[in-house]
C-alpha cells in the first residue's frame, strides 16, 4: 500500500468515527410509584480470608488460588463514582477498607469523604468483617462490630443503617435483634436460608419479614429482614466483571451485535419474575458478588446503559440504589409484614446438604478464638485499671485479630489450612502484646508502694497460655532453695468467685518417681517416692 492510499484510509476512518457520537446516559431515575422499581445495588463481597489470607486478598497476591485483589476494587471504584454522580456503591468489610484507607493520600481521602457524605458511597454492616452467625459468641460479634462502627463514626461521622449478612450459612436470632435492632439498623438482608423454607416463602411472598429474635425484648428489638430470592449475585445474565460471560449492552449502531432490545427484554423479564414473589413494587438486584468490581467501570458502564434504555422502554423503572434507599421505599409503602420469630438454622442449600458440619469444623481454632475472647475481656479491664496507653503495648492488636477471626470463613473452620494458620498467628501476636498489658497492670496493682502510676513496679509476671498442653514454664519452677512461687489470680467477673485452679509445679524432677503398690490384687496405689 502506497503512502497516499494509507492517508485515504485514515481519513475514511476519521469520518466513520465522527458519525458515532458521545452518548449521554440518563442514570438519574428515582422511584416511580406506578411501576416495578428495580433497585440496582452495586456491591462487592470481600471475604476477610477464605482461600487466601486477608492480606493476600487485599494486595492481590497468591492469585493462582483465586484472582482477587481488594485494592483493585477500591482503587477503581473512586473514578467510577466520580464519573457520574448518580452511581452508587456500598462497602461492607472494614478490615479491608481500613487497610486501603491507611494507604491513601490526603487528597484521595478528602475525595472519599465527599462521595461518602453525598451518599454515593455508603458503608453498610460496617463491622471489621461479615461475621458468622452460628459459632461466634455474642460478645465477639459486638466487639468486632463496634471496632468497625467507631472507625466510621470517627473518620466519616456516619452510622451504618443496614445489616448485610449476605453470605453466612444460616442466620441467628441474636444477629437479628442484638446485632441488628440494638445496633440501630433499619433492616437486615441475607442470602442463605433453607431451600425448603425458601420455596415456601417465595410462594407466599414472605421472603421479607419483621423478625423478632428475642422473646424477652419482642417488638422493641424487631427488624425488617429480607432473604434474597436466590443468592447475593445479579440475576443470571447480568454479570459485568471484565472476564464475565454475560452479554454486555452493545448500543453502538455502527458496530455489529447491537443488542439493546434483547437486553432490555431480559431485564424486564427478570424484574417481573422477581416482582411476582415480592411484596410491594420494589425489588432489589444485588449487582456484584465475591471480589467483583476489580475494574469497576465495566459494571457501571453496563448499568448506566441498562438504566437508560430500560427506563426509555418504560415497562419497569430501573435506578441506582442502596439497601438504605430500598428500605426507605419499602417503609414508605406502609404495608404490614409477616412475623418471623426464632432463627434460620440449620441451613441446607439442597437435599442432603446440611451446613451443620461447620458448627464443629476446626474445633481447636474455635477454642483458641473463645479463650482469646475471654482473655481480651479481662485484659481490657486490667488495661483500664492501670490506665490505657495509646502507645504500645496495648490490647488493640488482639482486638483486631479477634475481629477478623469472627469472619464467616474463619472461626467457622471453612477456610483453607494456610488461612486457618494465618488467623491463629494473628491471635497469637495479639495475645503476646495483650499479655504484656496484663502483666504490667498486675505488677502495677500489686505494687502497694505506688498509689498513683506504676512506673517503678518491677515484678515480671509470667502467664501460661499453654496450660492446656500441661506446659507452664512459669509454674514449673524449682522451689528447693527457699524460693516461693507467687500466684496472682485475676477474676474478670463482677462477682466474688470460688474456684479450683491447677497448674504443674516442678519439684526435684530427678528424685520423684511413681511407685505402684498392689493392694489385694485390686487396687494399685501410687506413691510419691524418692530414689
Amino acid at each position: 500500500m502506497g503512502v497516499v492510499e494509507l492517508i485515504g484510509v485514515v481519513v475514511l476512518l476519521g469520518v466513520l468515527c465522527a458519525e458515532s457520537k458521545y452518548m449521554v446516559y440518563n442514570t438519574s431515575a428515582g422511584i416511580d410509584g406506578g411501576k416495578i422499581n428495580v433497585h440496582l445495588v452495586p456491591h462487592t463481597h470481600d471475604d476477610v480470608g477464605w482461600l487466601k489470607t486477608v492480606d493476600q486478598y487485599y494486595v492481590g497476591s497468591n492469585n493462582s488460588i483465586q484472582g482477587a485483589c481488594v485494592q483493585n476494587v477500591l482503587d477503581s471504584l473512586l473514578p467510577a463514582l466520580l464519573a457520574d454522580k448518580n452511581r452508587k456503591f456500598i462497602y461492607v468489610e472494614q478490615a479491608f477498607f481500613q487497610r486501603w484507607w491507611r494507604d491513601q493520600s490526603e487528597l484521595t481521602q478528602s475525595i472519599v469523604k465527599k462521595v461518602v457524605s453525598s451518599g454515593q458511597l455508603e458503608f453498610i454492616n460496617g463491622g471489621m468483617c461479615m461475621h458468622d452467625e452460628a459459632v461466634p459468641h455474642y460478645i465477639d460479634m459486638i466487639d468486632q462490630t463496634t471496632l468497625g462502627h467507631r472507625f466510621l463514626k470517627e473518620e466519616f461521622g456516619v452510622t451504618p443503617r443496614i445489616g448485610w449478612q449476605i453470605d453466612p450459612f444460616g442466620h441467628s436470632a441474636v444477629q437479628a435483634y442484638l446485632l441488628g435492632a440494638e445496633v440501630g439498623f433499619d433492616s437486615f438482608f441475607f442470602g442463605r436460608i433453607d431451600y425448603q423454607d425458601r420455596i415456601k416463602r417465595k410462594k407466599e411472598r414472605s421472603l421479607e419479614v419483621i423478625w423478632r429474635g428475642s422473646k424477652s425484648l419482642g417488638s422493641s428489638a424487631q427488624i425488617f429482614a429480607g432473604a434474597f430470592p436466590e443468592n447475593y449475585e445479579p440475576p443470571s445474565g447480568f454479570y459485568f466483571e471484565v472476564n464475565a460471560d454475560s452479554p454486555v449492552v452493545q448500543d453502538n449502531v455502527d458496530l455489529f451485535d447491537y443488542n439493546v432490545q434483547d437486553r432490555v427484554n431480559d431485564f424486564v423479564a427478570a424484574a417481573i419474575a422477581q416482582a411476582n414473589i415480592t411484596r410491594t413494587n420494589h425489588i432489589m438486584w444485588t449487582m456484584g458478588t465475591d471480589f467483583k468490581y476489580q475494574y469497576a467501570h465495566t459494571w457501571f458502564r453496563n448499568m448506566d446503559k441498562l438504566i437508560h434504555y430500560v427506563n426509555k422502554d418504560g415497562r419497569v423503572n430501573a435506578l441506582y440504589s442502596t439497601p438504605s434507599i430500598y428500605t426507605d421505599a419499602k417503609y414508605a409503602t406502609s404495608k404490614s409484614w409477616p412475623l418471623k420469630v426464632d432463627d434460620y438454622f440449620p441451613y441446607a442449600d439442597r437435599a442432603n446438604a446440611y451446613w451443620t458440619g461447620y458448627y464443629t469444623s476446626r474445633p481447636a481454632l474455635k477454642f483458641y478464638v473463645r479463650i482469646m475472647s475471654g482473655y481480651y475481656l479481662a485484659a481490657r479491664q486490667l488495661e483500664f485499671f492501670k490506665g490505657r496507653r495509646n502507645s504500645r503495648p496495648n490490647t488493640d492488636a488482639l482486638a483486631d485479630a479477634l475481629a477478623i477471626a469472627q469472619h464467616h470463613d474463619a472461626v467457622t473452620g471453612t477456610e483453607k489450612q494456610h488461612v486457618a494458620n494465618d488467623y491463629a498467628k494473628r491471635l497469637s501476636i495479639g495475645y503476646t502484646e495483650a499479655e504484656k498489658v496484663v502483666a504490667s497492670s498486675l505488677a502495677c496493682l500489686t505494687d502497694s508502694k505506688s498509689s498513683i502510676g506504676c512506673g517503678d513496679s518491677t515484678t515480671n509476671f509470667q502467664q501460661c497460655p499453654l496450660l492446656n498442653i500441661t506446659y507452664c514454664p512459669a509454674s514449673e519452677t524449682d522451689l528447693s532453695h527457699g524460693k516461693n512461687l507467687i500466684v496472682v489470680i485475676y477474676n474478670s467477673l463482677g462477682w466474688k468467685r470460688e474456684d479450683v485452679v491447677r497448674f504443674p509445679p516442678f519439684i526435684f524432677p530427678q528424685l520423684l518417681v511413681l511407685d505402684i503398690e498392689v493392694v489385694m490384687g485390686v487396687m494399685v496405689r501410687k506413691k510419691l517416692i524418692k530414689i
Binding site: D197, S214, P363, L479, I529
Partner: protein, 520 residues
C-alpha cells in the same frame, strides 16, 4: 527407697495455709505435652512434672487474690497426694466418686453406666455416656456429588466406639475426684468432680482420628438419661437466648426429612438442654460445637471432624487437619471440656447462666518468683476494681469495660436471663455505677447504641416502626430499663437487655499529668 519428705504448701493472701491436692499427670497428657510443646520450643521440654497442683481460691469481683506456693520439710504439712485406684474389668461392681454433694456411681469397666445423685437437692438420674463416629459420605460417584466436608455434615452410617480398655483409673483427693478412661487408642476421657461444685466436668482428648482405613470420621459423644424429652431440646443463640428445637420439625414449614441426624444438628455456643415433667439436663461447652438430641433423653455433641474429601463449596481442600512438629506429622488431637448437670425442672437456668460466665471467663493466672516470705507484706495481695462492699446482681454480667483512645470508658452491662427463664432472676435489676468506679467521680454518662457509634436516644428517635400482619397499630409493649438519672447513676436492666454507656470521669490532674509522661 525413701519417701520424699519435702512437700508443697500453699498459703493464701492472709498467710493461712490452705488445702491443696496433687493430681498425677497421666501418660495421655504427657504425650500431648511432649508433642505439642516441641512445636513451640523446637525440642522436647526438659523434664515432665509429675503432678498438677490444685487448690481452691477465692477471688473478689474484677480483682485478684495472691497465693504463695512453697516447700516445707514438715512431714504431712503440705499438699494431699491423690489416691490412685486401678479397676480391672469384673473386679468390682461399681465405684463411687465425689467428695461433695454430687456423687457418681460408675459401673465396672468400661464404665459406661453412671448413677448420678445430688445429695443436696436429691436429684437422681442414671446416665450412660459413650462415643461414636460417623463416616463421612463419599459422593464422588453420585450424579449430584455431595461429600461430607468442612461445611456440610453428611454422615454415611454411625459406628459406636466400644471401649477397648479393660481398666479404669480412679483418682481421689480432698478437692478433686477423677475417673480416667482410655476409651481406645485415640480417645482419652477424664470425668472430674470438684468437692464444692454440683456439675460433672468431662475432659476429652480425641485424636489423631485414624484415617488409614480410607474413611473420614466425625466423632461424637452421646450422653443418655431417662428424661422423657418428647423430641424437644433447647440450644442457645450465640451464647444468649435459648431457642426451642423439635426433632424433625420446623416451625416455618413442613419439613421433608432427608438427613435425620445432620438436619437436626444446631450450633451450640453456650449450651444445650432437655427437660421433662420433673427434671432438666443441661450440657455446657467450652467452645462452639454442633449438638442435638437425636433420641429422647439424649444429648449429642460433635467433638471433632477429620475428613478426606472436599464438599464442593469452594474451599477445595479436605478438612484433614494435620500437625507437623519437625518431621513428625500427625492428625490434630483435640482436647476440650464439656460440663453437665441435672436439676429439678426450672432450676437449671441459674447454673447455665452463672457457670456459663465462668467458662467464658476462666480465672487468669500470673506467676512470679520471690526469694523468702516478703511478698505479702511488701505488696498488695488482694484487689477489687469495684467497691469492696459491692458485687453485680446475680443476673447481670459486665461484658465490656474498656478505656477508649480519648480516655472515655466504654461500659456494657448485660442481663443474663430471659423472661420466665428463672423464677427469681428473670426480673428487672439495677446496677449502681458509682460502686463500679470507686475512687473516681463520674462526670457524664451517655447511653449509646450497642456498637457505641450514636446516642441511644438519637437512635430510638429515628427508628422505623414496622407493622406486623395481624397486629396493625398495636405493637405489643415491652418493658425496658428506664433512663439513667445523672444523680442516682443507677442502671436498670430488663430481662435480656444489654445497655451500652460512654462514661466520662472528672479529670484527676495528677493522673493526667502522669499519663502524659508515660505516653510521651
Amino acid at each position: 527407697m525413701l519417701v520424699v519428705n519435702e512437700d508443697i504448701v500453699v498459703h493464701d493472701s492472709e498467710g493461712r495455709k490452705i488445702e491443696s491436692q496433687l493430681v498425677p499427670i497421666v501418660d495421655a497428657y504427657v504425650d500431648l505435652r511432649n508433642y505439642y510443646a516441641r512445636a513451640y520450643l523446637g525440642s522436647n521440654p526438659n523434664a515432665v512434672p509429675n503432678f498438677w497442683l490444685a487448690f481452691t481460691v477465692s477471688v473478689p469481683a474484677l480483682g485478684f487474690s495472691t497465693y504463695t506456693v512453697s516447700t516445707s520439710k514438715k512431714p504431712g504439712a503440705g499438699s494431699t497426694r491423690s489416691s490412685i485406684y486401678k479397676f480391672q474389668m469384673g473386679e468390682k461392681p461399681a465405684i463411687e466418686v465425689g467428695e461433695g454433694d454430687l456423687k457418681l456411681t460408675i459401673s465396672a469397666p468400661p464404665g459406661k453406666m453412671i448413677n448420678y445423685v445430688n445429695k443436696r437437692n436429691l436429684v437422681e438420674e442414671s446416665v450412660d455416656q459413650s462415643f461414636s463416629f460417623y463416616t463421612g459420605y463419599n459422593g464422588s460417584n453420585d450424579k449430584a456429588p455431595q461429600n461430607s466436608g468442612a461445611y456440610i455434615f453428611r454422615p454415611n452410617g454411625t459406628y459406636p466406639i466400644k471401649s477397648e480398655q479393660a481398666s479404669m483409673t480412679v483418682i481421689k483427693g480432698p478437692l478433686i475426684h477423677e475417673v480416667h478412661q482410655q476409651i481406645n487408642t485415640w480417645i482419652f476421657q477424664t470425668t472430674r468432680l470438684y468437692k464444692e461444685k454440683e456439675h460433672v466436668e468431662v475432659e476429652f482428648i480425641v485424636g489423631p482420628v485414624p484415617i488409614e482405613d480410607g474413611f473420614g470420621k466425625e466423632v461424637a459423644t452421646q450422653i443418655r438419661t431417662s428424661l422423657e424429652s418428647n423430641k424437644t431440646f433447647y440450644t442457645d443463640s450465640n451464647g444468649r437466648d435459648f431457642i426451642k428445637r423439635i426433632r424433625d420439625f420446623r416451625t416455618d414449614w413442613d419439613l421433608e426429612v432427608n438427613q435425620p441426624v445432620a438436619g437436626n444438628y444446631y450450633p451450640i455456643t453456650l449450651g444445650i438442654y432437655i427437660q421433662d415433667k420433673e427434671k432438666e439436663f443441661s450440657v455446657l461447652v467450652d467452645r462452639s460445637l454442633a449438638g442435638s438430641s437425636i433420641v429422647d433423653g439424649q444429648i449429642e455433641l460433635m467433638l471433632h471432624r477429620r475428613l478426606l474429601l472436599d464438599d464442593s463449596r469452594g474451599v477445595e481442600e479436605a478438612l484433614n487437619e494435620t500437625v507437623c512438629v519437625l518431621d513428625d506429622c500427625r492428625g490434630l488431637a483435640v482436647q476440650g471440656k464439656y460440663y453437665y448437670r441435672i436439676d429439678s425442672l426450672g432450676e437449671g437456668a441459674k447454673w447455665r447462666r452463672s457457670f456459663g460466665q465462668e467458662i467464658y471467663s476462666p480465672l487468669l493466672l500470673a506467676f512470679a518468683e520471690e526469694d523468702g516470705d516478703k511478698w505479702m507484706s511488701s505488696h498488695t495481695p488482694a484487689f477489687s476494681g469495684i467497691d469492696a462492699s459491692y458485687s453485680l446482681p446475680d443476673n447481670v454480667a459486665l461484658i465490656t469495660l474498656q478505656e477508649l483512645e480519648d480516655g472515655k470508658v466504654l461500659l456494657r452491662l448485660a442481663h443474663l436471663y430471659e423472661i420466665g427463664e428463672d423464677s427469681v432472676l428473670s426480673v428487672m435489676t439495677r446496677v449502681e455505677l458509682k460502686k463500679l468506679f470507686p475512687g473516681k467521680k463520674i462526670a457524664k454518662v451517655t447511653e449509646m447504641s450497642l456498637s457505641a457509634n450514636q446516642e441511644r436516644e438519637e437512635m430510638e428517635k429515628r427508628r422505623l416502626v414496622w407493622e406486623v400482619e395481624g397486629e396493625e397499630n398495636q405493637n405489643p409493649k415491652v418493658v425496658r430499663g428506664s433512663q439513667v438519672d445523672p444523680k442516682k447513676l443507677e442502671v436498670e436492666l430488663a430481662p435480656m437487655e444489654i445497655r451500652t454507656f460512654l462514661i466520662q470521669f472528672e479529670v484527676d490532674l495528677m493522673t493526667a499529668a502522669f499519663k502524659s509522661t508515660v505516653d510521651a
